[in-house]
């Protein structure tokens, strides 16, 4: 275990050194991520300004969901999501083999090499948005904060699982940057109040394909709209993570037995 932590630290150090080699580039890509994360909130703002609204959701409440989404990305992306880019480029260029030559679990190596400090920039946009949204939505109780904390873990778990699914896909679907579009499309269900979807779709988004857990469910818990029963949602989150890991390992086996 200590070895693994040490390994993380060493890789993170090198990644930071790499970024610092192009400081201006680093600053720009952080800016880009902030701008990118603010597009959907901007659209939400414009729509509310034109007099429309999600029934039962004030502007601040709706923005809170999108803020939680940005925060979850701000943590999950640097640590897990980078592996998608790693498999994308390295499987295509044939350098993924080099990861297999390391005496460490391949999944860990893929996450390590994908570690991307740029993505911490999302934490900034997420926090600002979160502060703004919360300022207009009233102070949550400690129970709400506790529920939110636990559900936020579920949110990270799901983003990690999604990273595994997308990355695993790329062993077979070599070099397709469309996985990022697929990610954006599928997770876009999670950026809006779940109540706008039909009841059956809401259930699917909570228990089957738990996209709603990324932002909507934690945010509505923070707004005090959920009871303790909502914590059952942690179960599908854990299940999806296990499935993601199984799938990834299966695809890796396929990769090492195919090739050419």
């Amino acid at each position: 275990m200590r070895g693994i932590v040490y390994c993380w630290a060493a890789v993170m150090r090198t990644k930071l050194a790499e970024q610092m080699a192009y400081r201006s580039h680093f600053a720009l890509s952080v800016l880009l991520l902030i701008v990118g994360d603010l597009v959907v909130p901007l659209v939400t703002l414009l729509v509310y300004r034109s007099g429309a609204s999600f029934p039962g959701w004030s502007l601040h409440e709706a923005l809170l969901i999108q803020a939680v989404f940005a925060l979850a990305k701000g943590i999950a992306f640097p640590f897990f999501f980078g592996m998608v880019g790693t498999t994308l480029s390295q499987v295509r260029e044939g350098t993924f083999d080099l990861l297999l030559l390391r005496p460490r679990p391949v999944m860990m190596m893929a996450m390590l090499t994908g570690f991307d400090p740029d993505d911490f920039g999302r934490l900034l946009s997420g926090s600002v948005l979160f502060g703004y949204a919360l300022s207009g939505a009233g102070g949550p109780s400690w129970q709400s904060w506790l529920q939110f904390g636990l559900l936020f873990l579920a949110s990270l778990t799901i983003l990690c699982a999604v990273s595994l699914f997308l990355s695993g896909m790329l062993f077979r679907w070599v070099g397709s940057s469309r996985v990022f579009d697929i990610f954006d499309a599928v997770t876009s269900f999670g950026m809006y109040p779940g109540t706008i979807f039909s009841k059956s779709l809401q259930n699917v988004l909570t228990y089957v394909l738990p996209i709603g857990l990324i932002a909507f469910v934690p945010a509505s818990a923070l707004l005090g709209r959920e009871g303790w029963g909502v914590l059952w949602a942690l179960v599908p989150a854990a299940a999806v993570l296990v499935l993601g890991a199984l799938y990834w390992n299966r695809m890796l086996r396929g990769y090492t037995s195919a090739g050419g």
């Binding site: 080699a21 297999l100 005496p103 460490r104 037995s257 090739g259």
Partner: protein, 325 residues
């Protein structure tokens, strides 16, 4: 140290069409073709050996190498290396081997090699003291003390290759795989790298080398394995390989009188440079050199002459050109 038995790898590929019609058809259905990349390879490598794997492009060398390094699972066959099955006990195995790929860099482009070394130290879990000792030794041998603190992108190819070797040797591997380690290097840089490999080999490290540079083979390998069409066609020592040429010599000769097109047992014109200048191939078993010189001098008058053994390229060309069985 390595034992390989009946190693086989087949995979399936698509066939792609050329005409508009074929392309359109391919949108729906793509015919599959089975390709046997490696076919029933068997060989063994002892500790401390330096073996060169040669073969034309697409012969199955890199597929073999991938299986030996545990990156690729074979379709069938067995490999035991360092007492382990590479693809089954991968983590344990790769901790004890090293690899340098001339065309795949393990360094990090934007930061100095020293930082990349440090990262590998953590990944391989090399203890501080051993790391320092090894690094000092390797840096001394390759003379890259200053180089390794400059960003990788600023290094020359030769400097970068030296650093690739350090990267691969830091955890003191017992077995090292080299894939075209001197590709693109100038003569001096090649010499440096070959010298380094030799001195590591003297310390007991086993090397498996694949290359197209016959200079690498002549300077490094004691044993040569030639693979073609996924099969071993030759497994022999370098001198044994030369012996296959028989007692053939190549003679470059300048004469006083013009030499006509001659044909004689044991003698053939390889290349005609001018009426007075020729490149001849002589089989000394049927035409002893002494007799050739005397006869040729009497007939045409020798002005200048250079005699060489036929180069190893000639053997290789023969072996590479062979069709699949």
């Amino acid at each position: 140290m390595i034992e390989v038995r009946n190693l086989t790898k087949t995979y399936r590929t698509h066939e792609r069409g050329h005409t508009l019609r074929e392309v359109a058809q391919n949108l729906i259905r793509r015919p599959m073709k089975e390709v046997r990349a490696v076919n029933e390879l068997s060989f063994a490598v002892e500790q401390g050996e330096m073996v060169a794997f040669l073969g034309p492009n697409g012969a199955g060398k890199s597929t073999t190498l991938k299986m030996l390094t545990g990156v690729l699972h074979p379709t069938s066959g067995e490999v035991r290396a360092l007492g382990l099955v590479p693809w089954k006990q991968r983590r344990q195995y790769v901790g004890r081997i090293g690899a340098v790929f001339g065309q795949k860099s393990q360094l990090l482009w934007d930061i100095p090699p020293a930082d990349a070394f440090y990262m590998n130290k953590a990944i391989y879990g090399v203890p501080d003291r051993a790391y320092k000792a090894t690094l000092d030794e390797l840096v001394g041998l390759l003379e890259v003390g200053d180089v390794m603190r400059k960003p990788t992108r600023q290094l020359s190819l030769g400097e970068r290759m030296k650093c690739e070797f350090i990267m691969a040797m830091l955890h003191r591997p017992e077995l090292v795989f080299l894939d075209e380690p001197t590709i693109g290097l100038d003569m001096i840089a090649k010499e440096n790298i070959r010298g380094f490999i030799r001195s590591m080999n003297r310390q007991g490290v086993t090397f498996i080398l694949t290359t197209h540079d016959l200079g690498d083979v002549e300077m490094l390998a004691e044993r040569v394995v030639v693979i073609n069409h996924g099969e071993i066609v030759v497994d022999d020592s370098l001198s044994g390989l030369r012996g296959r040429l028989g007692d053939k010599k190549s003679v470059r000769i300048t004469t006083e009188a013009a030499v006509p097109d001659i044909g004689q047992e044991g003698l053939q014109i390889l290349e005609r440079i001018g009426p007075h200048e020729l490149e001849l191939g002589i089989d000394t078993s049927s035409l002893p050199l002494k007799r050739f010189i005397r006869e040729f001098n009497e007939a045409y008058g020798i002005i200048d002459m250079a005699i060489e053994s036929l180069p190893i390229e000639a053997v290789m060309k023969q072996l590479y050109a062979r069709e699949a069985r």
